[in-house]
């Protein structure tokens, strides 16, 4: 019953993501998430850590409704995502940007076109497009690479293109699933800096990662999953639990 209650929000800020008693069991019987309860405050920057296969990606998929929980409530920006009608899913996705380890860029479109694509397919007027795309590229520092194709970019630049695409609709929440998984340390640092900047402008950022260096350097809230359960939730955590306890941090909440 250890994971049934999450630590109360100490700062009292309203939560933008809220899970209550969420379980996810795949058709093959695998229990990906086990009775998870969790609140994420608006405007916060949160790391999701844990070994591979502990449910980090499954948790993110629930938030942009790629997956429906077997049990429990999922609330994103005040909307019960688990009850969302299929026809309403696109509107949720415009409010939730998602970034993946493999970037998911279209190889036959330029950086500019890849970012514009997110607006074009949601029926944005061309006039808006010409205003919003340069702004998004500017936010990730790619203004000068708009005409290049993904294959002409470094991994870090490709990921920044993907982040620009996720941001161009100006979402309230940015979900990142292993955003630095394919990148070298220098590029990884760059990406984390970019995410931090985005968070400073008010977007809630949730990053599932194995990047210990970044987690330890940024010292943000760290939610740790093991076997589909939350095993620790620290406000200024480290990547590994041992680090956190040795650091002697008063604010950390380590669940038994």
């Amino acid at each position: 019953m250890s994971s049934e209650t999450s630590p109360a929000r100490k700062d009292g800020s309203p939560s933008v993501i809220s899970l209550h008693g969420v379980s996810l069991i795949y058709p093959n019987g695998t229990r990906a998430l086990d009775n998870l309860t969790l609140d994420i405050a608006k405007g916060s920057f949160v790391f999701l850590v844990g070994d591979s296969g502990t449910g980090k990606s499954s948790l993110l998929r629930l938030l942009y409704r790629e997956q429906v929980p077997t049990r429990g409530e999922v609330v994103v920006d005040g909307v019960r995502v688990d009850l969302l009608k299929r026809s309403r899913i696109p509107y949720l996705r415009r409010n939730v940007g998602v970034v993946f380890q493999d970037y998911k860029l279209l190889a036959d479109k330029t950086v500019w076109e890849n970012v514009a694509f997110a607006l074009q397919v949601t029926g944005t007027h061309t006039r808006e497009l010409l205003r919003l795309v340069p702004r998004a590229l500017n936010r990730v520092g790619l203004s000068h690479k708009g005409e290049m194709y993904p294959s002409e970019l470094s991994g870090g630049e490709q990921q920044r293109t993907a982040i620009a695409r996720a941001l161009v609709n100006n979402p309230k929440i940015l979900l990142c699933d292993e955003p630095t998984g394919n990148l070298d340390p220098a590029n990884s640092t760059e990406i984390m800096e970019t995410l931090l900047h985005i968070n400073l402008k008010g977007t809630t950022v949730l990053v599932a990662t194995h990047n210990a260096a970044a987690v330890d350097r940024l010292r943000r809230r760290v939610i740790r999953l093991a076997d589909g359960k939350i095993v620790s939730d620290e406000d200024r955590g480290y990547y590994s639990l041992a680090n956190g306890t040795h650091g002697g941090l008063g604010q950390s909440t380590v669940l038994p």
């Binding site: 397919v121 949601t122 006039r127």
Partner: protein, 294 residues
């Protein structure tokens, strides 16, 4: 105001999906062409058969033989009465004398008519009806009239013609449905392939919040192009075949009216085009929808 940037983007998406697998596109269009060609040829054949059948059946008349004691005045009254029936096309009065003359004419040289000492024939009326299907009904009605001895008509021919028309219609319907189904399956397979080739793009569209209707758009358009282009080719071929072969066929079979009136040709072409378009839209819709739901 129209946002031309959006229109341009949509058209480029359609073009991209269409040029991705030219062989499949040609196969899909070709199938529609063959289907519409056969549909057109079949409808033409049925039309011709119906016309021939109509002409044969139209010649069927009811012979109404009157009682011996009916005088010419009563016979005339009966004639007027039958002619007043809206189902009746024409009524001809044939007196027993005329009837005998006609019989002599018909049987000349076969039977020695001089053996006849008196005229054995009763007075008669020849009745034609507006629709062959009404022959039996009208004959039964006339049979009940006072002064009518008996009614005779080629019952077998009528029922056989009617049944044949019925069978041909049903057979045609089955053929047409299976042809349309084949075309639909091939188009939906083609669309499924294009959907598969673009699944990465569709995944990204769904991720950034494109609506299902938006994602569907280019694929439906592709299916529509299959249907319309295929139908247009078929209509062109049918028109060429008509111009080339119909006069020759007509010359070979002068007794069968083969031409389709000008007005019908346009309706006919539009119906074929509409069928092609519907098959294209529906089959692509089904296969995209199937993909988006799974």
């Amino acid at each position: 105001m129209v946002d031309w940037g959006r229109v341009q983007f949509f058209l480029s998406e359609v073009r991209r999906s269409f040029t991705r697998n030219p062989v499949m596109q040609i196969t899909a269009i070709g199938t529609v062409t063959v289907t519409i060609l056969m549909l057109g040829a079949f409808l033409f054949g049925r039309q011709t058969l119906t016309t021939i059948g109509d002409q044969i059946v139209r010649k069927i008349e009811i012979s109404v033989f009157l009682d011996d004691n009916v005088d010419p005045v009563t016979a005339r009254k009966l004639e007027v009465q039958i002619a007043a029936d809206p189902r009746v096309l024409s009524v001809t009065y044939i007196s027993r004398a005329e009837g005998l003359a006609l019989m002599r004419e018909r049987l000349r040289g076969q039977i020695d008519m001089s053996l006849l000492k008196s005229n054995p024939l009763p007075d008669a009326l020849r009745v034609r009806v507006v629709d062959p299907a009404l022959v039996t009904q009208v004959a039964a009605h006339i049979q009940k009239m006072p002064g009518v001895a008996t009614t005779v008509y080629a019952q077998d021919v009528v029922t056989k013609m009617l049944r044949m028309g019925d069978i041909l219609s049903r057979l045609g319907l089955i053929v047409v449905i299976s042809l349309v189904l084949t075309a639909a399956i091939i188009i939906s397979n083609t669309i499924r392939l294009t959907v598969f080739a673009r699944r990465r793009e569709i995944g990204i569209m769904q991720l950034v919040g494109a609506s299902a209707a938006y994602i569907r758009g280019p694929f439906i358009c592709e299916g529509l192009i299959h249907g319309v282009v295929g139908a247009l080719i078929a209509i062109g071929l049918l028109a060429a075949a008509q111009a080339e072969y119909l006069p020759k066929l007509q010359a070979a079979l002068p007794f069968i009216p083969l031409s389709i009136a000008g007005h019908d040709e346009l309706v006919f072409s539009l119906a074929l085009l509409g069928t092609g378009a519907c098959v294209g839209i529906l089959s692509s819709w089904i296969s995209v929808d199937h993909y988006l739901r799974t």
